[in-house]
């Protein structure tokens, strides 16, 4: 009889606990990362009598956490991928819109500027139109500056977000270490389900920030590793990550591992998650975009200046620099022990790349390495002012007192766009006229004609000096009455003081042709036409790429990358949803199921309670039978 009571009591206790568990499940139906818990009943072994055994009721053998580590790992991996693409996508789509949009992009300003150059070439003596052209020049310079500034803002944002992400990583790794501690205290073999859920949830959160790998230890703690096997959490200890300024640029945040005693740079080994996405965006999109933008700005400014300097302005002076742009930036490594110095200039647009280069001194000589490709670029020259190093269209002059191992970063395009400005504010100073003009003396008897001079060497000191070609016979001529007699061949180019002309036809002795400074030629647009032509003239990559095409390639490149990232993001989203679905399907609470369990356990409890009643009645019957 007491056996009967005991047995029913085990049922009541077990079902009471099962009901409690169901209630816990229902309460956590919406808790992220919660794995539903299921009671596993086993029967109790009872006492035996002879060969017949009667069991001793029920018991809860274990409370099982409905959980599949494989699915959870998949979810963590998917989370890493999704967060990476998410960070990339949000930044790249903004950059894409910024560069290619008709209102914010460079394209419209560039077109307006060159249209204004054509307008002014059409009507060179009109100062109002000249003023309008200067306005458009200011517009294009401002647009370059704004674009670079916006890209710079994105770079700052990347640094800020990296800082926040590192704070989060440190917080989460600390929490994982704490949970490890709590779990380890439960002892080997314990199943603290809710703590385990909490730890999984923390690892999932961490996976959203950075790619991690985990290993469960015998004592129940979880070790977390990042990058190429660096430990973030071991047992109850968490390591910290930190943010340092870049070796060359203190405003550029890089992630370091703050291990015992020393810090180690991590950027190159980190991937995945928000951190991986941010770092990838910076090197894959932002750096090349700023470099190409700077390259385009420098190409426009330098080539326009060169052409502008070979024209005459309304005052009869040779043109000056039209656009101002800073030379390549030199940044010195914070690890330098000597005090090196360097000055770089863009010398050849055809070979100029806009890339970043690291110049390293090894104690004897310098080595130039392209930063993005790691390629060593051979340099000619000796690095002195008279014979500078020349590589990839850049001249580098070195000085100071460098120590072995000193490094410098040469940014040839990065940030150049930020310094672009127009240097001319007087419309009369725009040099639209050809520097020289030619004329045939009206007294000429022969029918020979002279071509408009082409400036082949704008730097010739005698460029603007008048020269008279006088024919001494039908086939010979002298220049400025000099003693040298030249032979005339119909149509052959004649080179005088950097001017090239051709004379066609049959001259007669005494015929004169004059080349002179093009003074007062307010209506001449010879240089203006050449300026307008620069838009479609091949300048970069050995003349294969025009300024327009250079920017077009930037837009197309950014657009294509942004498109790939967007596609990748959408695909990763599906992967993540599937992984999440699988985990939820396995682990999350179904309220209908719990309702059914509620009914089931309630009924079982009631039945067990009924057994007590039956026992009581049996006992009462026994008492009634024996009380007489």
């Amino acid at each position: 009889m007491p056996d009967l009571l005991g047995t029913s009591l085990t049922g009541m206790l077990a079902f009471q606990r099962a009901l409690q568990l169901t209630s816990h499940n229902i309460a956590n139906a919406n808790t992220p990362g919660y794995s539903r818990q299921v009671a596993e009943f086993t029967s109790r072994i009872g006492g035996g009598s002879g060969q017949n055994y009667v069991g001793g009721g029920t018991q809860i053998a274990s409370i099982k956490r409905m959980y599949d580590s494989l699915l959870v790992n998949q979810l963590q991996t998917a989370q890493t991928g999704l967060a990476r693409f998410g960070a990339l996508n949000s930044l790249s789509s903004r950059m894409d819109t910024l560069l290619a949009d008709a209102d914010t992009g460079l394209s419209a300003s560039m077109q307006n500027f060159f249209n204004a150059v054509q307008d002014v070439a059409n009507d060179p003596s009109n100062t109002t139109i000249r003023q309008a052209m200067l306005g458009e020049a200011d517009g294009i310079a401002a647009r370059f500056r704004t674009l670079d500034q916006q890209l710079n803002t994105q770079e700052k944002e990347v640094s800020d977000r990296l800082r926040l992400a590192v704070d989060d990583i440190n917080r989460i790794s600390g929490q994982i270490a704490e949970v490890n501690d709590l779990i380890a205290r439960e002892g080997v073999g314990a199943q603290p389900n809710d703590l385990l859920d909490r730890r999984d949830q923390l690892v999932l959160e961490l996976s959203g920030l950075i790619a991690v790998s985990t290993a469960e230890q015998d004592d129940g703690t979880l070790s977390v590793f990042i990058g190429s096997g660096r430990s973030l959490v071991i047992g109850i200890d968490a390591q910290r990550l930190g943010i340092r300024g870049d070796e060359f640029d203190p405003t550029r945040a890089t992630i370091v591992y703050e291990g015992a005693g020393a810090t180690a740079p991590l950027d190159a080994s980190l991937s995945g998650g928000v951190v991986g996405g941010l770092l990838e965006f910076r090197t894959r999109m932002l750096d090349p975009a700023r470099q190409t933008l700077g390259q385009t700005a420098a190409a426009l400014a330098l080539q326009f200046n060169t052409q502008h300097q070979s024209g005459l302005d309304l005052r009869g002076n040779l043109g000056g620099d039209f656009f101002g742009i800073d030379p390549p930036q030199i940044l010195y490594s914070s690890g330098n022990t000597g005090s090196p110095s360097a000055v770089a200039q863009v010398a050849d647009l055809g070979a100029y790349t806009g890339a970043n280069y690291v110049l390293e001194f090894d104690g004897a000589g310098y080595t130039l390495t392209r930063e993005d490709s790691g390629e060593v670029i051979p340099m000619t020259g000796t690095g002195t002012a008279g014979d500078p190093f020349v590589a990839d269209g850049i001249t580098i002059e070195v000085g100071g007192s460098p120590a072995a191992g000193d490094r410098m970063l040469i940014r040839t395009g990065h940030g150049a766009a930020a310094s672009m400005q127009t240097l001319i504010d007087d419309p009369r100073s725009v040099a639209l006229a050809s520097p020289t003009r030619s004329s045939a003396s009206l007294g000429n008897i022969g029918d020979a004609t002279i071509s408009t001079p082409i400036t082949v060497d704008a730097d010739d000191p005698g460029l603007l000096t008048s020269a008279v070609i006088e024919f001494t016979s039908a086939t010979t001529y002298t220049i400025n009455g000099g003693a040298t007699v030249y032979t005339y061949t119909d149509g052959d180019p004649i080179l005088i003081n950097g001017n090239e002309v051709t004379i066609n036809g049959s001259p007669t002795a005494g015929d004169q042709f004059t080349i002179e400074a093009n003074l007062g030629a307010s209506g001449d647009n010879g240089n203006g036409l050449l300026l307008a032509n620069l838009q479609s003239l091949g300048l970069l990559e050995n003349g294969a790429i025009s300024i327009n095409e250079s920017y077009g390639q930037l837009i197309a490149g950014v657009g294509a990358t942004a498109y790939q990232i967007q596609e990748g993001f959408e695909a990763q989203d599906v992967v993540f949803r599937n992984a999440e679905d699988a985990v939820l399907s396995k682990s999350a609470v179904n309220l209908d199921e719990e309702a059914a369990n509620l009914v089931r356990f309630q009924q079982a409890y009631q039945a067990s309670a009924q057994v007590v009643n039956v026992t009581k009645q049996l006992f009462d019957s026994l008492l009634a039978a024996t009380s007489r």
């Binding site: 003009r437 004329s439 093009n518 647009n525 197309a556 309702a595």
Partner: protein
Amino acid sequence: MRVSTRGAYLNSLLAMQKLQQALDYTQRQISSGRRILTPSDDPIAASRSIQMVETISRLEQFDRNSTLALNRLSQEESALNSVNNVVQRVRELGLQANNATQSDESRGLIAVEMRELLDELVQLANQQDGNGRYIFSGNLDQTRPVSRSGSTFTYHGDQSQRIIQIGEGRQVADGHPGSRVFFEIRNGNGIFQISPAASNLGTGLSGEGSVVDPTAYDRDTYTFTMLTDTTYQVVDSSGGVVDSGTYETGDTITFSGIEFSITGQPVSGDEFTVAPSQNQDIFSIVDQLSTALEQSITDDASRAALNNAVNSGLLGLDQALGKVLDIRTEIGSRLAAIDNQVNLNANTILGLQTALSDLQDLDYAEAVSRLSAEAATLEAAQASFVRTQQLSLFNYF
């Protein structure tokens, strides 16, 4: 597969969010009329359309350039038309004055009109455009091209002409320097000129002459001299005799690849110089003609001098008219070239705009039907969400 309550909820929510995103995208497409909203929607189409927009803008600039060149050339053409009319009138007056019936007085009146026409001609050469810039001074467009000092006319412009870009790789000059129009008029017949010596006493009149053998003509200066009243000889610049013979009025005299005739009766000692043509200006031609008309005729020799001067002047005027015609023809072909280029540009722009529209414009019919489909799906998703969320076993407790 087991469905968790949270999973089911998240899934329906996510599905609805996706549908809303699609709906929003379509809605933005419809309200903007553009198929591509951000470049990453279709990066290839986006970068191509940027290039097309740039090309269109460039071509439209060429059109503006063309209009400008067209206006300037038309203005020049109309100025040249006036020049032509004035020169024609001078020519008529010259012919009229050459008539033997004219008296000194009537020729004087003709000369007065001719001088007025000369003034008009100078004004035409110094004509300015609407912005006050001289149209015939080359690129020195703020310099008055023609000045007069007595009977000397000087050109102050340059010999350049401004080039206008009217198409990709296509340029056209928007005018002609005044030197070409007014100052580079070859005298005589354009190759050589025969001029009588001022001291001639006879009535010999020179014709205009012509080149019969261009290879034999050496552009030397020759002198035709009457040795007696009936014989002549021609010597070259170094004194070598190249031709001689008996003079008959109107006979063709041929030497060194050229021929000409002299009519009338020159007398012994009269000379005619045959020199290569040189540039002269149209103003001097008219001025010299007027001066010749102002001389009174006293004898046969002075009449012959008048006739020779008028003939020479008329020859110059013909050269000038020919020059003006040449330049007007050139203007005509430039205008035609501009017309062609404008048409070509317009066709290219049209083609580009069609292609651009295909690339970036929205197919409204497709978009609107897509919008309805998406809206219907979203409504269905919302309705089914509400229904399934109401389903719970707890409802039956």
